[in-house]
Amino acid sequence: MTLLPTTTVGSFPKPPYLLEARRKVARKQMEPGELQELERRATEEWIRRQEEIGLDILVDGEMYRGDMVAFFADQMEGFEIAGLVRSYGNRYYPKPAVVGPVGRKKPVTVEWFTFAQRLTSRPVKGMLTGPYTIAEWSFNEYYPTRRELVLELARAVHEEAVDLERAGARYIQIDEPAIHTRPDEDFELAREAMEIVTRGLSAYTITHVCYGDVPRIYPAMLSLPVNQIDLALKNDDFALLEVFRTPRFTKDIGAGVIDAHSHRVETPEEVADGIRRTLAVIPAAQVYVSPDCGLKTRTLEETVGKLTAMVEGTRIVRRELGS
């Protein structure tokens, strides 16, 4: 892999034809099979776009997912969707409720991973939502303690990760944006759950953590059994880097250098500056370049603009490093 590999966090905006089709299926005016055809088309478009932009490690863009938690809950045992709740601003998500023992009925993400990987010679990441986040972003009506629910989910997510690896995934990302919700009370539980998820895997593993009080779980988060921690640095103007000076950041970092929740498209020079600031704290060999978060709330133009700037900005720094 090249120095400063570029990648993204997972989701991309859905094209208008897909949004329209999803609405139609919800109103039962379209067959799910027809929707799936359009999801494949949109996935292929995003694979091509990522190649054209020049990203190194690709994602399938999650054209077939409504929400990162509900997508898994929908296909697993023990959940029902309770209804829409607000997550930020005017953003809502269908929040699941755990109403019985949770478990996996069948592989959840393998088919889409395989489809996307066949479209490209570049590596595509297997994308999972972590057990702590699935538990935390669901209502729990069934398990007496959060611990029981989280560990049960960890076993299910582990099975999924093993299946992804068997299907050829060389990179597996386990998103845990909720991991620092209760830093004192629960971080050890979240770590234990991640250990179950990644046990015995040979793929390169990544966990994505965003927003919230990251300094509260530092340096404890360096004990997470993954190769890389992907973080939102741009959102707080790289203030997090100060925290990573001591003790030293010992994992690889997915450095978020693009604001995923602003309409403004960054310039390549701005991206280069963000990477330089990161390199002042963490050695280049440990740094991957990515946006702060999934980009599904941006428009298509904003997304392409932001990613193009990200790749160009990365190239500027690579040249400076003489690679």
Binding site: R27, A82, G83, L84, V85, R86, S87, Y88, G89, N90, Y92, K95, A97, E136, W137, F139, N140, E141, A178, H180, T181, R182, C210, Y211, G212, D213, N235, D236, D237, H261
Partner: protein, 324 residues
């Protein structure tokens, strides 16, 4: 014994009913709507929610805080001295807010919630209480880049919000609620909290309610009884330990009994509510009880929120029959 709510309420209905507020915000962001057009939708939704609370049988309602993007930025945007920063998690919830950043001297520029309060009173079948986020919580959830110490910021915010409370009282609010869940994150800083409460409530001619939620008040009780307030609202779900804590000293205020889980869809039974009310009546005279969910209901889908209110009312009715 009065049934009430703690504050916010789901802004959008359950699908397939259209979420007008949600689309309205999107239209404003895209520049297709003016703020005034969104304001009209907020008015409609507020009126609808005032009616919904009354239909469920709640005695003392709020406006549901439909216009608040969250409890922090609604005030920070209107006060002098704040900028709005990056995304932060709101306590241990799945909700994010943009963190207010204190960049200069904090000051009250003019009424923030008074128009909202007037609108709610004019459109509510039931009495309305206005809610204001407290100075301590605002300080805890913001980033201080200006004041030398956290204490200085808290006291400055208390002085600014004191004017808001006075304006609400002048507008006719007979009872004003101040929310201070942030106190439970910084229990060791009770001395400045205490000072802030004196500044905040100074000269406010209304009944004074102070609400905490998301935890227990162990370590703060009975000191909380010394505050210049009439009603103390507590969360008995996330703060189940409050049952035990309250037995350590005679409770001398009126009690906000937050008893239905505002953060879980699991539905309580009226009997559970009645049992909790009976238990509380051993600590506080029954006519000093304000029975409510444990926090604002916006963490729940709309249908579940409404059902919780119905269960609350049914439970209190059952308890009253028992008491009488």
């Amino acid at each position: 014994m009065i049934t009430t709510v703690v504050g916010n309420y789901p802004k959008i209905p359950d699908p397939p009913a259209p979420g007008r507020w949600r689309t309205g915000v999107e239209k404003v962001q895209r520049g297709e709507w003016t703020r005034a057009e969104l304001r009209r939708v907020e008015d409609e939704v507020t009126a609808e929610i005032l009616a919904e609370q009354a239909e469920a049988g709640i005695d003392l309602v709020t406006d549901g805080q439909i216009r608040w993007e969250d409890g922090q930025t609604y005030f920070a945007r209107a006060l002098e001295g704040f900028a709005i920063g990056g995304l932060q998690r709101y306590f241990d919830t799945n909700v994010y807010y943009r963190q207010p950043v204190v960049r200069g001297e904090v000051a009250w520029r003019g009424p923030i919630t008074v128009e909202d309060y007037r609108f709610a009173v004019a459109h509510s079948p039931r009495p309305v209480k206005p809610v204001v986020t407290g100075p301590f919580t605002l300080a805890v959830l913001s980033r201080n880049e200006y004041y030398r110490t956290f204490d200085d910021l808290v006291v400055a915010l208390a002085a600014a919000l004191n004017q808001e409370l006075r304006a609400l009282a002048a507008a006719g609010a007979a009872l004003i609620q101040v929310d201070e869940p942030g106190l439970l994150l910084r229990r060791d800083q009770f001395p400045v909290f205490r000072r802030a409460m004196d500044v905040l409530w100074n000269g406010v001619a209304a009944r004074r309610a102070l609400y905490t939620y998301f935890g227990h008040v162990d370590g703060l009780y009975p000191a909380l009884l010394d505050l210049p307030i009439d009603i103390l609202g507590l969360d008995f779900v996330a703060g189940v330990r409050n049952w035990e804590v309250l037995r350590r000293a005679r409770f001398t205020k009126e009690l906000g009994l937050g008893i239905l889980d505002a953060r879980n869809t699991r539905m309580e039974s009226p009997e559970e509510v009645a049992a909790a009310v009976r238990l509380a009546a051993e600590l506080v005279p029954a006519d000093s009880l304000y029975v409510s969910p444990s926090a604002g209901l916006e963490f729940l889908p709309r249908r579940v929120a409404r059902r919780k209110l119905e269960v609350l009312v049914a439970g209190v009715r059952r308890a009253k029959e028992g008491v009488a």
